[in-house]
């Protein structure tokens, strides 16, 4: 009995079934979903290398459009948020502009 069971056991170990390889889609990784939803800056510096790897993997798997969309959306989001100046910031900018103009006019007239 031992002679029959032992080889069966060893062969079972040697030619065991391969574990099922689950193919994970890099384009649907939570990090990329986060970048798509809240912007690339939401990923954080610690995860930036992991994010870059995922982007490359996603592009390899034909997800160029997904990556492009993330980047475009990020620029658009930034643009929407800061294309108009809020509250006191416009007044401040005008003040800086006036000071600069006054300074350079003064500099120009002083050196003439």
């Amino acid at each position: 009995m031992k002679i029959i069971l032992l080889p069966l056991f060893y062969f079972g170990l040697l030619f065991g079934q391969d574990s099922l390889k689950v193919e994970i889609d890099p384009c649907s990784d939570p990090l990329l979903i986060l970048a798509r939803k809240n912007g690339i800056k939401a990923v954080g510096v610690i995860n930036i290398f992991k994010y870059r790897k995922l982007v490359k993997a996603c592009e390899k798997q034909g997800g160029e459009l997904v990556v492009q969309q993330i980047e475009l959306q990020d620029f658009e989001r930034d643009y929407r948020k800061s294309k108009t100046m809020a509250s006191w910031t416009s007044t401040y900018s005008v003040c800086v502009f006036i000071i600069m103009t006054y300074y350079f006019i003064g500099l120009g007239t002083a050196t003439e």
Binding site: N38, G39, I40, K41, A42, G44, V45, E71, D74, F75, E76, R77, D78, Y79, K81, S82, K83, T84, M85, A86, S87, T89, S90, Y92, S93, C95, V96, F97, I99, M100, Y103, F104, L107
Partner: protein, 219 residues
């Protein structure tokens, strides 16, 4: 985390043109020959935090360093001169295009000038006295410490207008033009335990400045 980087750091160069008569026209002590790198280029780094929509505060440091050998009567000590303009900017900005930003900055300045003479212990006092005499200080040092440097602090303000191009949503190139207005007083240098030492004549009070830097959005 949406919109512009809340926390960002930058690294770059500044360009300005100070007049340093105290070194260049010094008849008693020949200073190292002036170079563009030591005289006109400023090393710049900074950190900014977006505290309000379209506004950032931060710290930005512009440093100019000049190193070389001086020629005294009996020795040739190493001379290190640094001018550090520490800015505490308040910057407002808006996006003109999706990748282009225009920014406006006003900043108080805490400036510091530092002169170090690396000399032998035996000749330290004589060397420093020779240097100070060349600046016009007739009241020489009687005693010196083991490591000494002439230091002068001043305050000032700066204004700049800049344009920034974002290569990615994190990385951008920033160009600024503006001025530095410093209240440098050559009679308020400090050395060892003495105050009000006369230092070199420097024309750094009203200077146009240009800066170019790379921005990286951390968060």
């Amino acid at each position: 985390m949406i919109a512009q980087p809340k926390l960002s750091s930058d690294l770059g160069f500044g360009f300005y043109e100070p007049t340093m008569e105290g070194f260049d026209k010094n008849e008693e002590v020949p200073f190292p020959t002036k170079s563009v790198l030591g005289r006109n280029i400023l090393l710049n780094w900074g950190v900014y935090y977006e505290f309000f929509s379209n506004a950032r505060i931060g710290y930005s440091s512009f440093t100019s360093v000049e190193i070389g050998k001086m020629k005294f009567q009996n020795s040739s000590p190493v001379f290190i001169r640094s001018l550090k303009y520490r800015l505490f900017p308040l910057e407002t900005f808006f996006r003109w295009r999706s990748k282009i930003e225009i920014n406006f900055t006003l900043a108080p300045i805490w400036g510091r000038g530092r002169i170090t003479v690396e000399t032998t212990p035996g000749e330290k006092t004589d060397d420093w006295n020779e240097l100070l005499n060349s600046f016009g200080d007739s009241d020489p040092m009687g005693d010196m410490g083991s490591s000494d440097a002439m230091i002068n602090d001043w305050i000032g303000y700066s204004g700049m207008i800049g344009i920034r191009y974002y290569l990615t949503s994190r990385i951008g190139l920033d160009f600024k033009a503006g001025f530095l207005n410093n209240s440098y007083d050559r009679k308020s240098w400090k050395l060892f335990n003495k105050k009000d030492i006369i230092g070199p004549e420097l024309e750094i009070n009203e200077l146009p400045i240009f800066s170019f830097k790379i921005i990286y959005g951390i968060k």
